[in-house]
């Protein structure tokens, strides 16, 4: 899969720093699954994080902190429950996209809401993270030749193509591509005529959804 549209360095930096809002971080994680180029960037920015960590002026821990850590380790070993790595993670039925396509691995812990019509040729399904109700992201399913809802928005919009393709002023977006659009960019994505397009969309969390798509999505994401 040749990825032609990538996340910006700013976004990858914020992702690596753990500073992207939950929904946007999941869209980026989905993109990274298929994009070695952006994964390499994230690795570099994480190394930057490691360098910043090392240059910190040490802030002393409480005098008994290390002894307390050893006590906790002892207790865990006595309980013979070392490193329950992911025990809390429940097994859930894997939601699939239309056509039986599995959700990307990054989304496998999400609950997928029902598909609902939100406009002409456009359906949406809200994704929720069980352990983070604040996460906001949406699957959009748009028919062939249909426009993605025209919208003005504040902040950045992240749209990852999962199935099908759409095109706008900046080119054609195929599965694996990430469209990252600042609010000051006007564009009109149209789904290519050869089939429907399913994409994953989230906004930068610092915005208020007051654009068209935001109003459409409000009933789903209860903003």
């Amino acid at each position: 899969m040749k990825i032609r549209h990538h996340a910006t360095d700013e976004t990858l930096l914020r992702y690596a720093a753990g500073r992207l809002p939950a929904g946007a971080a999941l869209v980026v994680a989905t993109h990274l699954e298929g994009c070695p180029h952006c994964r390499a960037r994230v690795a570099a920015f994480e190394a930057l994080g490691g360098a910043l960590l090392e240059e910190m002026e040490p802030a002393p821990m409480a005098p008994d902190a290390f002894a307390a850590a050893l006590r906790m380790i002892d207790e865990e070993e006595e309980r013979n429950a070392p490193a329950s790595l992911d025990s809390a993670r429940s097994v859930r039925v894997q939601a699939t996209l239309p056509g039986g396509i599995p959700l990307p691995a990054a989304l496998r812990h999400c609950d997928m809401g029902p598909w609902r019509w939100i406009g002409l040729g456009v359906r949406a399904s809200a994704l929720r993270l069980p352990d983070d109700p604040s996460a906001r992201l949406t699957l959009l399913r748009v028919g062939p030749g249909r426009k993605l809802p025209e919208h003005g928005h504040v902040g950045t919009e992240f749209t990852q193509v999962l199935v099908g393709s759409f095109s706008d002023e900046f080119g054609r977006y195929l599965p694996g591509d990430l469209a990252e659009m600042d609010h000051d960019i006007e564009h009109q994505p149209v789904v290519d005529p050869d089939g429907e397009c399913i994409c994953l969309a989230a906004f930068d969390g610092s915005m208020r959804l007051n654009g068209f798509i935001g109003r459409l999505m409000q009933p789903f994401v209860r903003l």
């Binding site: 910043l52 960590l53 610092s206």
Partner: protein
């Protein structure tokens, strides 16, 4: 809860032999010079293979106060920062077998643990500002031919690149790590035009990238 970054284990995690009796460390001992980077990585490997408490003591002495400081600077209140720093060090002990020195240096690996546990902490203690803090779902990606550089080289290059940045560039990069702010907000914090902030970040990241890609 995806508390800790999970590197895909290469093969099975190391089997854990029972800890040596009579080899009990109860106090933090810091001896001599600070460990260098290769040694820090070896300490984690020794924790994984031998549950070596001496190694853990040394690693703790070096990293716990730095993680603590990092989390303070990241905006956690003092008590929370220390609590999460303690969680981070316990995670280092538990997850040591997932550490792969070919993928990341010790500081980078521990940074990712701190990053993820900070997010988990905020999620648990979320106050009114619900949407402000992010979740980072890690992607488990099989290491493939994409690995451009050995981790040790990459980290050396990143550090070298940091030194070549101007103060302004370094400031915007640090703000990206220690603040939730998008660049537009950083701009208003620093009283700079957005374009200036963006170009500083671009220059800083470009310098980083040039160094990394040059060497790959």
């Amino acid at each position: 809860m995806n508390a800790v970054l999970e590197y895909p284990p290469r093969g099975e995690p190391h089997p854990r032999p029972s800890p040596e009796l009579g080899h009990v460390v109860t106090r933090l001992m810091e001896d001599g010079a600070p460990p260098d980077r290769a040694e820090l990585a070896r300490l984690i490997v020794r924790i994984a293979s031998d549950q070596d408490r001496q190694a853990f003591a040394r690693l703790y002495a070096y990293f716990a106060p730095r993680v603590h400081a990092f989390l303070r600077k990241s905006g956690l209140p003092a008590n929370a920062a220390e609590e999460v720093a303690q969680e981070v060090m316990l995670s280092v002990w538990r997850k040591a077998s997932y550490f792969d020195p070919d993928r990341a240096g010790a500081a980078t690996w521990i940074f990712t643990i701190a990053r993820n546990l900070r997010i988990d902490h905020l999620r648990r203690h979320r106050v009114a500002a619900a949407a402000e803090n992010g979740v980072t779902e890690e992607v488990e990606t099989a290491p493939s031919g994409e690995v451009l550089l050995l981790a040790s080289e990459r980290e050396a290059h990143v550090r070298a690149a940091m030194l070549t940045l101007s103060d302004e560039q370094a400031t915007v990069l640090r703000l990206s790590f220690f603040d939730d702010k998008a660049h537009s907000e950083i701009a208003s914090t620093l009283g700079l035009p957005l374009g200036t902030v963006k170009s500083r970040v671009r220059l800083a990241l470009g310098r980083l990238r040039a160094l990394l890609e040059d060497k790959s």
